[in-house]
Symmetry: C2
Subunit: 260 residues, 2 copies
């Protein structure tokens, strides 16, 4: 297994439950693991206990920060039909439950869309910027090759644009091609859009819904993160993810706490 | 209690559980109740068992259609802190669970935003159109006064615009002012945006996340519903809701099945 597949693997434990070894190195700083990485683990657990192969919706409440180590995954199956199945997944670490999720599974394809909103304009990968400086201690940056649109990284040089938009090309650093599980990671992998409005610091996710829309083509994915409103200590963040053919393959929305 | 408050009321049952009498007349046709109406009921149950007064996130999986009648609501409390609390709510009808939700509660205010994306252009209420024709048998249209932007209702006269956007002013027909619970209703109350791309018919919600962002001012709310992609039997739908002062007060995103 490659890096991402191994780091998100879920196996049946003795006694019948599910377990995973969450790896250090998929963090957003310190021992706090990336929220999208956790969604991929949760989705693998849901799929193991589903008649359908792919996550199409994962909606997770982040109860507390999750660190590396062995966790258990408890899947409660809901109704399962020919088209889709529902389940609930709880991720429990040594100190108790840290994340609960609702997962819908189905079989995705890459059938052409009936309607599709176009992909935004984006410079070529070679004309974008790797976030090497400023975040050497953030593990996730080493797991996901990221090339930021220079128009959206004023915050990196102390000149936030004032518009909460960040765009980047992303792919797994282990060389594996995107799939529905890595799309869950990509939907929560960019720096917080709050940085673009000058609110530096960590913006912890409270609740995050990701929709996976199609099987992605090989190559780089484009992620665009935007926010609609920052107020009262809260900010929303929306991501859309397109594959290398310009096909929308995932969407997300989260509510996060604003850094003080 | 007014119509909406009474129709979404949750009370403690003998034995300690929670129960609600879902009213006919909040339907989307036949005996299928509106998804946003159900979210309001679920949020009232969560708030009853929370130290915090308002829903800020409700994310629900629609396991099967829910009809009118008495239902039980089972709240599983999660971590509760000074700022927010998490819980899970299951809504169970006579024939079993029909909806499960994750709810985050907190105390909302109307503090001015740090950043806010502007409200779209919208004709005045008097220049918009009541959906009197075409849907006389849809109960929810009698509960929520709706005034559609004429630019977004080509579908009503057999000329869908081809762009999945519908905008409308909405308010409760019972005369009560908007609150965080009615915002949950408003976030799922417009006709399906799929009608705007010529896909008439019912688009049942699979999973729906609503964020409530602020306490709404009195008066009409503006709802704008858009979609990004229709493909493989699925469509996403996003709603944003502004109050009468132009303040963003709620956002939603759902994945729905496309009508065949």
């Amino acid at each position: 297994m490659t890096g991402f597949a191994a780091a998100t693997a879920v196996r049946r434990a003795e006694g019948g439950g599910l377990t995973a070894d969450l790896e250090p190195g998929w963090d957003v700083g310190g021992t706090v693991l990336n929220g999208g990485y956790l969604l991929a683990v949760v989705a693998r657990a849901a799929v193991l206990d589903s008649p359908h192969p792919h996550p199409v919706v994962v909606s997770a409440s982040y109860l507390r920060a999750t660190g590396p180590g062995t966790v258990s995954l408890h899947v409660t199956p809901g109704p399962a039909g020919r088209t889709l199945a529902h389940s609930a997944v709880a991720l429990t670490a040594a100190d108790g439950p840290t994340l609960t999720a609702q997962v819908t599974t189905a079989a995705l394809d890459d059938a052409p869309p009936v309607y599709s909103r176009p992909m935004p304009e984006m410079p070529a990968v070679a004309d974008c910027v790797a976030p090497t400086s400023g975040s050497p201690d953030v593990g996730i940056r080493h797991q996901v090759d990221t090339r930021l649109d220079p128009a959206t990284i004023g915050w990196a040089v102390g000149r936030p644009s004032g518009e909460p938009v960040i765009r980047a090309w992303v792919r797994l650093a282990d060389g594996s091609e995107p799939d529905p599980f890595s799309l869950l990671l990509f939907a929560d992998v960019l720096p917080p859009t709050s940085w673009s409005i000058g609110l530096m610091g960590w913006a912890p996710t409270v609740q995050l819904q990701v929709l996976v829309r199609a099987l992605p083509a090989p190559g780089w994915c484009l992620v665009e993160a935007t926010a609609s409103e920052a107020a009262g200590g809260w900010i929303d963040e929306e991501c859309r993810v397109w594959d290398s053919t310009g096909r929308l393959v995932a969407q997300s929305r989260q509510l996060a706490r604003l850094p003080r």
